[in-house]
Symmetry: C2
Subunit: 212 residues, 2 copies
């Protein structure tokens, strides 16, 4: 394989699996290259990502070491994502009877969701979350894309108990929007005790669900 092909392959493999460590041994086997050669390739990929403001390539030394791509957005790119969201949300056609805002199409756009997920991941990266938790339904796409950018599992809190979840923890709470007692439940298998979680709920609730 030529250098240019190897670099393309290394970029593809890293970007495809955000936050996942790939060892130099794995890369070497896949691409038929020596570790020293790969280290030079990785340096080029790292410089390119940095220059574009589209994430960071980190090398981890030691026996468990290797290389990983962390989709941390630069400030200008974050600004762009937020501006795009604000512009899109300002459209007067979004206002529904009763003063609600139609926004399902934003949650429907996979590419915008990818960037929103990377934005949350960038914001909370240093807190080292070990899982992302959301309450069904509307928060799921953004929570999943955030979990993807952080490479941690997603856990979905359900509003009803499902047999297929196994043993569940259930709690009742007073819903702020519906003004009645509602139930939510989470499978006991989904999150181990002591896990540091990042809660991503939808935009609509002003945090009421989490306080519940």
């Amino acid at each position: 394989m030529r250098r240019s092909e190897r670099i393309s392959a290394v970029t593809k493999l890293l970007v495809d699996r955000p936050h996942q460590i790939i060892t130099l041994a794995e890369l070497g086997e896949l691409l038929g290259a020596a570790k020293s050669t790969l280290s030079e390739d990785i340096a080029i990929v790292r410089d390119t990502c940095q220059r574009l403001g589209l994430g960071r390539v980190e090398t981890l030394p030691g026996a468990a070491g290797g290389v990983r791509y962390v989709p941390l957005l630069s400030r200008p790119v974050m600004r762009e994502v937020v501006d795009q969201l604000v512009h899109s949300l300002s459209d007067p056609d979004r206002i529904l009877p009763g003063g609600f805002l139609y926004m399902s199409d934003i949650v429907a756009s996979p590419h915008l969701l990818t960037r929103i997920g990377e934005l949350f991941a960038t914001r909370f990266y240093e807190r080292e979350p070990q899982a992302v938790v959301t309450v069904e339904t509307r928060g799921i796409p953004i929570a999943l894309m955030t979990a993807r950018a952080l490479n941690v599992p997603l856990a979905i809190v359900r509003r009803s108990t499902r047999l297929s979840e196994g043993t569940v923890l259930t709690m009742n709470y007073v819903s702020g929007s519906a003004r009645r007692i509602e139930t939510m439940s989470l499978s006991r298998r989904a999150i181990a005790p002591g896990t540091r979680v990042l809660i991503i709920d939808d935009f609509m609730k002003a945090g009421g669900t989490a306080r519940g």
Copy 2:
């Protein structure tokens, strides 16, 4: 920018936005390179993706032309994903009281979901779906990753009507699993009439929801 850096950048930009056309003019502006130079870079990225069996790089001629990355998996890579799923699902620890199978952790793993989405995208790519539709809740992660791989919107059918969806189409159906009449609704804004949709439901229902 050196060739190797440009190739890393082109790979990153393409892989990051599956199925989205990037014009040579955009790439040229971003990377400060002539179209002829970029064409050579793109050829190298294309050959590399093909060699790894991890997607196809397509160039589209003409005024609206450009280049896009289509995450079509090769047969061996599809086989690997299916084998991984089968292996994981065969674990006896998954069997819950009542004969249900615990599988929320599969839907929780962002990287596995990415691959499953690409697998569905590869399978239905030639039917040219214009949107992916799913019924809340469990199908959402796989449907979203399939929509991402195809670069089409995701539409979520809700089991209850939400004010924030605007006008909705509602239908009643007899649920096979619950043996009672249930309701599902879809925002009228979500899907234009005549749209070719790919329906991705969860694994558990044997297609009953779609027939409903």
